[in-house]
Subunit: 364 residues, 2 copies
Amino acid sequence: MSERASIDFSGFSCPTSDGSAERIVLGHGGGGLLSGELIERIFLPAFGNPVLERLGDSAVLEELPGRLACSTDSFVVRPLFFPGGSIGELAVNGTVNDLAMSGAVTRFLTAGFILEEGLPIVDLERITAAMAAAAAAAGVRVVAGDTKVVERGHGDGVYINTTGIGVVPEGVDLDAGRIEPGDAVVLSGTLADHGMAVMSLREGLGFEAEIASDTAALHGLVVEMLAAVDGIRLLRDPTRGGVATSLNEIASLASAARRAAGREPVGIEIDDAAVPVAPAVASACELLGLDPLLVANEGKLLAIVAGDEAGRLLEAMRSRPEGRNAAVIGRVTRRPAGKVTARTPIGGSRVVPLPVGEQLPRIC
Amino acid sequence: MSERASIDFSGFSCPTSDGSAERIVLGHGGGGLLSGELIERIFLPAFGNPVLERLGDSAVLEELPGRLACSTDSFVVRPLFFPGGSIGELAVNGTVNDLAMSGAVTRFLTAGFILEEGLPIVDLERITAAMAAAAAAAGVRVVAGDTKVVERGHGDGVYINTTGIGVVPEGVDLDAGRIEPGDAVVLSGTLADHGMAVMSLREGLGFEAEIASDTAALHGLVVEMLAAVDGIRLLRDPTRGGVATSLNEIASLASAARRAAGREPVGIEIDDAAVPVAPAVASACELLGLDPLLVANEGKLLAIVAGDEAGRLLEAMRSRPEGRNAAVIGRVTRRPAGKVTARTPIGGSRVVPLPVGEQLPRIC
């Protein structure tokens, strides 16, 4: 302590490593030597690129010509690892997908970590490796980061925020106001895989071998879709709250935009029988009494497209692995305005409401 | 439950509001009605602007001509409110300042909230109001946001991540490799105000009336400084780990950059007596046995500037309130290479080390 005689640590939490350095301690968030060690040992090897390696307070990037887009998302999924992925893949793909829903291609990603004291460093290594692989697959560079550490009992291992910065290509203009009665509602694949993978593990349902998260980046699929047809009105990725939430938001946004332009509002009708759900996922949902329409997806998108272009769009989507099970699941209707309804297999009709709260907490 | 007969909530946490809606419940993070209520009631009134009001998965922005810069930071300060500010001001000013240290002017900000179940909604309102006021003062728009809710005991009220996107003006080229022996080390004002404001409150020292956080946006000061002189080499804001950490980083970055160019490394020498510290802050530091050089600041910057331009720079800085106590606190030396030393008032010299861990956990 000779060089630091003026510092008295009594009364503060021990800031130093336990020697083995195999768990996160508060000092890893202090901005000092231990923080530097974490950056050198974990973050730079995983994400290393010339921008990040400059280690400035901020990242200076090149010029991005065109309209910028940005999106931010925090990830608090529990548990951190699940069949098909981890919080790491979610954190990258989730933000890449949010940007893709604007037609934007993500170029840069920032990553903010809130670590809980006691986290095994090997877990952090697995997570950053998963993020790095997902970022490489999506053609995205992690250009800035931050790490904070909170005391045991004030976190849950790792929370991650990612913010993406991308560019919207010339000519792309997705807008709820362009939605018309007769438009088709297209879903890119099977529903509820992510939510049920996490829930099966959490509740010990024994479906772990059969159900894997669908986490995937969808920007490539979106590029393909926008190139194939002109009539795509809007894209959404049905994550938290599932397809039911996204469709309610679409119906409500479209109706508001149309009303503002002096036009009639619209509703959405889906066909329960047309919604693709994998058999194991359907069984797990039934066991837990969950509606697959309300369960989170992490690698699927909804597209509203001009009715006469739906066939061409499906063909383009099915040419890619992320869209191989794409299907038309419904259409835009004149009424009931602003609402979503579903035709049931026995010929009835039910309202698909916007859920009140959270059916499955901490799912992403 | 008639419309949602297929959903069985048994076994899940109660997702609905308690009726008074005065505390955060898990459902506020679910993406459904309660999430929407939070957006309508809290976030849009605080941050409302046309981009945010589109409520898309991502924000589509205008073109930003010039080199982009971005920075991300998570805030986990405890307690949430302290003399001089709250986590809200920190979250905005901290990121604006990180960008300002690259010479960048922040244009857009994203905000990701991780709320703990049970947080009084009135606290969230105070925090978002503080963020909105800080953003307005800094000329920054909040263009995208996200809210997650974690169970009681897995957070600490509110954690906030902000990511800033800005533009670096033409001609600005801050670079540690341009640092030369003889350069002056300039500090923009008194040290340790933020850290000691939080610690005084946390430890019940009774200095609350006298010490307030210095949280402030520094981009205006930086614009003034860059306009006043050409010889600014590098800027840093000494937050976590304080001036000691920032100066060690500067010495190390400058030495590495100079070595890479085949030149001699450099050190930094500061003069203890020249470092401005407010009397109450000095007393609080003494009481806790803390070195003010290690305590966090949230509205101060360090500049390395050509020695013969230091006078002109000080004059420009003192013309603004954020820089009125600016002072030259040291200089760049030839040795000891890569290290920071301090001349003591009695004529001795001590090494100012990079701290190992966190002296004051959860300070920002």
